[in-house]
């Protein structure tokens, strides 16, 4: 083969040949990246990085401001105890937000099921473990109702759960007769209900069984979301329901399973709640709804569905817990704690928007 001839022997004017010689770069712009852009790209590839950085910065700043008291194992385990309930309910909320939904009734389901568990065991004398199972059943039923409203009646999740929030909360007041079940009565009759509040010593840290239960739930849901087909389908349903349907996913079933599972997780949250406060109060945990959404949002989950991770929510809950605890130790008024949490939410979503712009 001679390669000395510089001219091609035949002039091929076929448009295919022309296309083959064309640049293989499709719409690629040469652009020098600034460190800020590189950071943005990094955050886009690792969405978990942003809340993690905030958490680390918060821990470092509070240990500088407050001193040893903050980093003491006892205090850190206190933070963990304080975020346990938000963490558990945050798991339920994450599942729903991943499907591009939102659940305003999670707190009400938790309180309702805690009252069911308490009254079953204390007032009706039913075996405590059975009472817990009944509570979990009620949670599942509540989630099932939410799911039906959303998938069958096609009511937007925000409205459906706004309605069911009120319904569940009213049922809770009716069933509890607005009475609190005293801590003493529970520890006499059904100590199992308070088991989640018992502590175990762990190198000077005092972990509650409730915190361990929360970590267990996080692990289970992490596994289900990342290592099972169901998890892939949850993401696909939230990402693009039409595409998911065309791929053969029964999206209605997926949504139903998510709402029922969220109800079950809320009922487990109720057990953790009883352990944390000792008593059963129909007025407890009223802010849990919004706190759970806060944790999910700070953890980097997109409210448009399909994007986010379950451990992001754990970190989001810890960020809130660390800020509240650190500011309290620093002697800052509660109202400024709320102020800070508000700023955190807005910054989290703002950063998320900034990351998405231009890098997708």
């Amino acid at each position: 083969m001679s390669s000395t001839n510089p001219k091609p022997s035949t002039a091929v004017l076929d448009h295919d040949k022309v296309a083959d010689q064309a640049s293989t770069y499709v719409a690629k712009f040469e652009r020098r990246e600034t460190p800020l852009q590189r950071f943005k790209k990094f955050l886009h590839h690792y969405p978990i990085a942003a809340p993690l950085i905030v958490l680390l910065l918060a821990v470092i700043s509070f240990s500088v401001i407050v001193g040893d008291r903050f980093l003491h194992p006892f205090n850190l385990s206190l933070v963990l105890q304080q975020v346990t309930i938000i963490g558990v309910i945050g798991v339920a909320q994450t599942l729903i937000i991943l499907t591009a939904g939102i659940d305003l009734s999670v707190g009400a389901i938790m309180v309702l099921t805690s009252v069911v568990m308490g009254r079953m065991a204390v007032n009706h004398g039913i075996d405590p473990s059975l009472s817990i199972l009944i509570g979990i059943g009620v949670g599942a039923l509540a989630g099932f109702i939410n799911g039906l409203l959303i998938t069958r009646l096609k009511i937007p999740p925000f409205i459906a759960t706004l309605g069911s929030w009120n319904v569940f909360f009213a049922l809770n007041l009716w069933y509890s007769k607005s009475e609190t079940i005293r801590s003493q009565d529970i520890s006499n009759i059904a100590p199992l209900l308070q088991w989640t509040g018992q502590t175990i010593d762990f190198f000077g840290a005092r972990l509650t069984y409730g915190s361990l239960l929360m970590l267990g739930i996080f692990f289970l849901i992490w596994y289900a979301l990342n290592w099972t087909a169901w998890g892939r389908h949850v993401y696909a349903t939230g990402d693009d329901p039409e595409a998911a349907k065309l791929a053969g996913i029964r999206t209605t079933r997926i949504l139903m399973s998510v709402y029922v599972l969220a109800g079950v997780v809320c009922a487990i949250g109720a057990w953790v709640l009883i352990g944390r406060i000792g008593s059963v109060s129909p007025q407890a945990g009223t802010m849990t709804n919004l706190d759970s959404i806060t944790a999910v949002v700070i953890g980097g989950c997109s409210l448009f569905g399909g994007r986010g991770s379950i451990y992001g929510t754990l970190i989001g809950a810890l960020v809130v817990g660390v800020f509240r605890n650190g500011l309290a130790l620093a002697g800052v008024d509660v109202l400024w704690q709320e102020f800070t949490v508000g700023i955190l939410i807005i910054s989290a979503v703002g950063i998320d928007q900034w990351i998405r712009r231009g890098t997708a």
Binding site: D16, A19, A22, T24, V26, A27, Y223, W227, T228, A229, W230, R232, H233, Y235, A236, D239, D240, E242, A243, A244, L246, A247, G248, I249, G306, R307, A360
Partner: protein, 265 residues
């Protein structure tokens, strides 16, 4: 005419009818797809070609007539059933999940689980195997310019996404691949890649039904062209026997093709 057209059609309809109230969308339509060919289906808007395609992909249940797969009558009541029999459809609106990665998308709805107790009890996904098979398929189809099989589909260009959708159909379609306007949303170079990909899939033995409005694309890749008009087949032509203007004329009714002429083509 090569020998492949003497064989039994892979997919065939006889006297298919579908009515919506007083409107007849499919009017006693015949259709044949032979092994190893690219059959383009063209027709003006409202000619009923999408109804025909929906009937073939299981998205629509015909009122009368029959659908034959490998010569045997079949009845689909959902796209799932058609898919289970090896008929894959690539949809116009790119039915991929942007946030999921390439391997996840290829196996979406048909995930592989790990062997043994991990798969049966713990329902654990076999991510390695899915990634391996995805990589093999993408390489086989010449799509491995995509660097990383675990990159999110949203980071791909329109043509690459279409490539993922085509790869999925080639991975699971054992009988027929139906492609609905695969180049409609793409640029010139991207279209070229997808057209090459379509030929590639055909050369691997899978017959393809290509629905397109783009005449140059149709005439470039199709072995035969089914022209649909007024709810039924107006003609079968080949890129060799007729010009693009002829095809458009038949499509719009400006030119009639007699049965004998059709047989000759």
């Amino acid at each position: 005419m090569t020998a492949q057209y003497d064989k039994t059609p892979v997919l065939q309809t006889k006297n298919l009818v579908k009515r919506y109230g007083s409107v007849t969308a499919i009017d006693h339509a015949d259709f044949e797809l032979y092994p190893g060919e690219i059959l383009a289906v063209i027709g003006d808007n409202g000619a009923g070609k999408s109804s025909l395609i929906k009937a073939l992909s299981g998205a629509l249940i015909p009122d009368e007539g029959e659908i034959l797969l490998d010569g045997k009558p079949v009845h689909f009541s959902s796209p799932m059933e058609a898919r289970a029999l090896g008929i894959e459809t690539v949809y116009q609106n790119l039915a991929v999940s942007p946030a999921l990665n390439i391997a996840d998308n290829l196996f979406l709805g048909r995930e592989l689980r790990k062997p043994g107790i991990l798969g049966s009890v713990f329902r654990m996904l076999d991510k390695k195997e899915m990634e391996r098979r995805a990589k093999d398929k993408m390489t086989e189809l010449g799509l491995m310019t995509i660097q990383n099989i675990s990159q999110a589909v949203e980071s791909l260009s329109g043509g690459q996404r279409q490539g993922v959708a085509v790869a999925r159909s080639a991975l699971f379609g054992s009988k027929v691949v139906i492609m609905d306007e695969p180049t409609a949303a793409l640029g010139v170079k991207e279209s070229r890649r997808v057209l090459n990909l379509i030929k590639e899939v055909r050369d691997r033995g899978l017959p393809i039904i290509l629905i397109s409005h783009n005449m140059p694309h149709v005439f470039e890749v199709a072995d035969r062209i089914h022209i649909h008009r007024l709810g039924k087949r107006a003609a079968i032509v080949t890129p060799q026997s007729h010009t693009m203007s002829d095809a458009v004329a038949i499509m719009t009714g400006a030119m009639e093709v007699s049965e004998s002429e059709e047989e000759a083509a």
